[in-house]
Symmetry: C3
Subunit: 142 residues, 3 copies
């Protein structure tokens, strides 16, 4: 069984955002899968996807602060500067974090750990909505 | 062909650990797959999975030292501090490294490079055993 | 439908290289897939794969400069030093960036964003050609 659905994520401010519900609520077909995988792919190079702690919002803001200090704006050696001070740091962060996730599906649910949630990492100050391609593959429950 | 198996990895000290054998020995069904993929997914946000050099243990200890100096404990800007000095660094490292691996299966074996091994990256000082979900998908040999 | 093909990438100098065409031109069978995934896996621990901006070459050179300054050669704490000053930094970069990509296939094409391209990140000064395993899984168009 193969299913694919493009999802438009609502525009978000720069930072790390928990989007598990925004994704899962648009994928009711997960319920039909006994064993499978969900691949989530972001079609952008200045935002990224990761899994992390789903409870304390301080984890998301600490993460944002960490990535801002480890990938700084306006480094004197940057050449790609014409699209704004946040642009090349956004590209670098997207490579550090990654553009896709593969999550197991078991008995109709994402098989995440208790504390795991899906994050959209928005690396630009004024981004629009973000396009995600979700691909579900697996064996249907009988 | 779809197979899924949850594996409990033995508790390990903080650091980078080669676990290729611990994983593969629990997945004899790989032998039956002609072409496929193995997805390995860790259900935690303070440990991570990567592929790296499988021969010299110094690579693992240098990796541990690198990640400790690039994601430091007790940064003055951290707010998520109530779960111990190693907790927020563990979350950040897990996003830098990632929670899952997809490895090709070819003719009954993982199609890894000669020097590639699977690492469990344990980011906490006193972690228990870690839960892994392995999903095998592929075409059976005839 | 399952297909697997090993591809040898031409030897490249240290740096970030756009290889979308070098990969796609060797995978004409993507045209036959209606819904699916392409997994690209590099069988090495001193080179890596990522997706990033496919237009301005300055993004690739800024990326190379960023990773060289965040993972330095000759750190006094490195023990794995016998294979050259670029070796342990190459291993660390490969864990930061990752060894594989999963890209959705939709109606016979890779479903990449407009600005997304596939990068080979070559972390060694004198590397040879690099082995990639591509695995295509999906539903054939009728």
């Amino acid at each position: 069984m193969w299913l694919q659905k493009e999802i438009l994520l609502k525009s978000k401010h720069k930072g790390f955002h928990l989007i598990t519900d925004e994704i899962v609520s648009q994928l009711p077909m997960i319920k039909k899968i006994k064993i499978g995988l969900l691949n989530i792919f972001i079609k952008h190079t200045s935002a990224s996807l990761t899994l992390n702690e789903n409870y304390d919002p301080d984890v998301r803001s600490d993460m944002e602060k960490y990535f801002n200090q480890t990938v700084r704006e306006n480094e004197p050696y940057y050449d790609h500067t014409s699209e704004g001070a946040d642009d090349i740091p956004a590209h670098i962060k997207s490579t550090l974090i990654g553009a896709s996730l593969s999550i197991p599906i078991t008995n109709g649910n994402l098989n995440l750990g208790t504390w795991q949630g899906i994050y959209l990492c928005e690396h630009r100050y004024h981004a629009g909505s973000r396009k995600i391609v979700t691909t579900i593959l697996g064996e249907e429950s009988t």
